[in-house]
């Protein structure tokens, strides 16, 4: 009889416990205080139901009540780091940062090899103004879990108010992987010089793939000069320069990288070919075949060129046309790559046919100009619709800095 009674008692306890847990889960699923209270009443010694009650209250913005529940739960299961974190967050919500820090300390104590405890404590210390101590924790978290590295860099950058040196001191980079991540971050923020500086400090991760990725980031961050510096493999190549201006080397059609050198648009309406049968000098020229529509001349072939701000430049090239029939003849235009503003353009190309002739034009860069884009345009003069037929060849593109020449005039 005693055995049966004991069994029944155990069964009842198990049922109450299980039912309390079920209610607790239900309470969290639907944010029901009523269900959470019922769960706690059924199993007051179960930390899980107190946690459930705490979560519900926290979600319903009742942090004072939630704090009590989390405190009970963490007393009942004091080795649970997640419980200490929840308690810490709730205490901070109530403005009790010292008590929150004490809870986070417990979380770190019971989960010293996990990143999330250090990360949470570091964030709290940051808000408490303990910046250096905060970064000790944040760095420890990022060292343990690499997915925290971008956030660590972002926080350091924000706290340093955009000062690369201070950010670097806060991050205390110790691996190539982290340094490369920092270099990319700086590039995206337009800090080209600092970014390239970090890249050059890499010991092992200076692969071509990483270099290309960083160049793309530098261009996206409008740090064109540094992007060019990193892009060039020949150090004698000094900006400004039009690369492959005579089309002596092959041009990559549908090039995936819009960095430096000629970029041929994949969906160009014109036929773009390197032609070895026609040239003014060297071995080849560029042939454009036009057969009706050419609404987007800028999306044909273009080149980004690194330049200096507040300078005057001259671009010269040779052109030959054959049966070019249109109301809006083509021309070459230059725009500021960063600001996307036109800086100048050449005269219209001769129509309908002409032998090779040289064209040149000058333009000035703005105070913020770091790079220009050389592209096609059309001198439409109100021609709409404006079909165009025929062929044209281009050769011998050259850019010169004529600032000194012009100022001496």
């Amino acid at each position: 009889m005693l055995g049966i009674a004991c069994c029944l008692l155990l069964m009842q306890s198990a049922a109450r416990f299980g039912y309390a847990r079920l209610l607790g889960k239900y309470a969290v699923a639907v944010n029901s205080i009523q269900a959470a209270d019922e769960a706690v009443a059924l199993a007051p010694g179960d930390p899980e139901v107190h946690r459930a009650r705490g979560r519900v209250l926290s979600r319903l913005q009742m942090p004072g009540e939630a704090r009590n529940s989390f405190e009970i739960a963490s007393r009942l299961r004091y080795r649970d780091d997640f419980l200490w974190l929840e308690l810490g967050r709730t205490r901070e919500e109530l403005g009790d940062t010292s008590a929150a820090l004490a809870a986070f300390d417990q979380a770190v104590r019971y989960a010293p090899y996990y990143a999330h405890t250090y990360w949470q404590r570091g964030n709290l210390k940051l808000r408490m103004g303990q910046y250096n101590e905060a970064f000790v924790d944040l760095r420890a978290a990022a060292a343990s879990r690499k997915s925290y590295v971008p956030s660590l860099i972002d926080l350091a950058w924000g706290l340093s108010r955009g000062d690369g040196k201070v950010a670097e001191q806060l991050i205390q980079i110790s691996t190539d992987q982290d340094r490369y991540a920092f270099a990319r971050f700086l590039a995206q923020k337009g800090k080209g010089k600092e970014s390239v500086g970090q890249f050059r400090l890499l010991v092992r991760d200076r692969s071509d793939e990483n270099r290309r990725e960083l160049i793309r980031d530098l261009i996206a961050g409008k740090a064109f000069r540094e992007a060019f510096e990193l892009w060039r493999t020949d150090s004698s190549l000094k900006p400004p320069v039009i690369l492959n201006g005579g089309f002596e080397e092959a041009i990559e059609l549908e090039s995936p990288d819009s960095t430096f050198g000629w970029f041929v648009f994949a969906k160009s309406e014109a036929k773009v070919v390197r032609d070895e049968s026609e040239k003014l000098s060297g071995r080849a020229s560029l042939l454009l075949g036009l057969n009706g529509n050419w609404k987007g001349p800028a999306q044909t072939i273009s080149q980004t060129i690194a330049v200096e701000p507040d300078r005057r430049y001259r671009i010269s090239f040779a052109v030959k046309t054959k049966d070019l029939v249109t109301g809006g003849p083509p021309a070459i235009a230059v725009k500021d790559r960063g600001a996307d503003e036109g800086l100048g353009q050449s005269q219209a190309f001769p129509t309908p046919s002409s032998d090779w002739q040289r064209i040149q034009f000058e333009f000035s860069t703005r105070p913020g100009t770091q790079a220009i884009v050389l592209e096609f345009t059309r001198v439409a003069n109100g021609c709409s619709p404006c079909p165009i037929f025929g062929e044209l060849w281009l050769d011998d593109f050259v850019i010169e800095d004529v600032t000194t020449v012009n100022s001496q005039r």
Binding site: Y19, L23, L126
Partner: protein
């Protein structure tokens, strides 16, 4: 006792001492190296992120959840079913007190750039979506879109501002612009499982539990006293 015998214990003691020192040294070297080079950073106001149901949102393009620190100039973006609140507090210079500057609630499907400073200025630049800026006394809350500022709170009294902005349509500013009264980021109402409502769901859960436990309390011979048929 000979000189050799007298020196024996001394040599052993010296060896033990040396061994203990070695152990201590090894333990010391095994400790994690924590670099504590102090970096001078100016004190600043920092926000604290709380997300609905601890779901991650995007902060400066990176995933962030409750407990993350939000620095001035951060871009926050929420997706569908994601919302957040940023509480901003710190040492204010006007007047020089430690306190709360205010809070910004961000509704689902919103993108907002938050800027704030030690002067108590708190600005939400809404790219799209809906925000509610609550500024404390002595702080100035502001809602804006890229075209310019739309409203500011009075520092003498503080207050709330709500802004809904969808590019291509006119921005709506004012109470209830986001979604009726109440906090816009808070957890949803308790609808119960499958929308049955809380009492009904509790009843279902209770009935289910009771039904599950019935065999424990009523063994087969009690449920079917006639026993198995042949």
């Amino acid at each position: 006792m000979s000189l050799k015998r007298r020196n024996g214990p001394r040599a052993i003691a010296a060896l033990i001492l040396f061994s203990i020192a070695q152990v201590g040294l090894q333990v010391g070297l095994a400790e994690p190296t924590i670099t504590t080079t102090a970096t001078t950073v100016l004190p600043q106001v920092i926000g604290r992120l709380t997300t609905r149901n601890n779901q991650p949102i995007q902060v400066n393009g990176l995933s962030a959840t409750t407990g993350a620190s939000i620095l001035s100039g951060a871009t926050l973006e929420t997706g569908a079913d994601q919302s957040a609140i940023v509480k901003i507090s710190g040492v204010l210079r006007r007047p020089l007190v430690t306190g709360t500057v205010g809070a910004v609630e961000i509704a689902p499907n919103s993108k907002v750039v938050l800027t704030f400073d030690e002067q108590g200025n708190l600005k939400a630049l809404v790219m799209f979506g809906c925000v509610k800026v609550s500024a404390e006394r002595n702080a100035t809350g502001e809602v804006a879109i890229e075209q310019g500022s739309l409203a500011k709170t009075d520092p003498a009294s503080g207050g709330d501002l709500e802004l809904r902005y969808d590019p291509g349509s006119a921005p709506a500013v004012g109470p209830g612009a986001c979604k009726g009264p109440g906090p816009i980021y808070a957890a949803g109402s308790s609808g119960g499982l499958f929308g049955l409502g809380v009492p009904a769901t509790i009843a279902v859960v209770a009935a289910g539990t009771a039904a599950g436990l019935t065999p424990l309390f009523f063994p087969d011979d009690q449920v079917n006293p006639s026993g198995p048929s042949n």
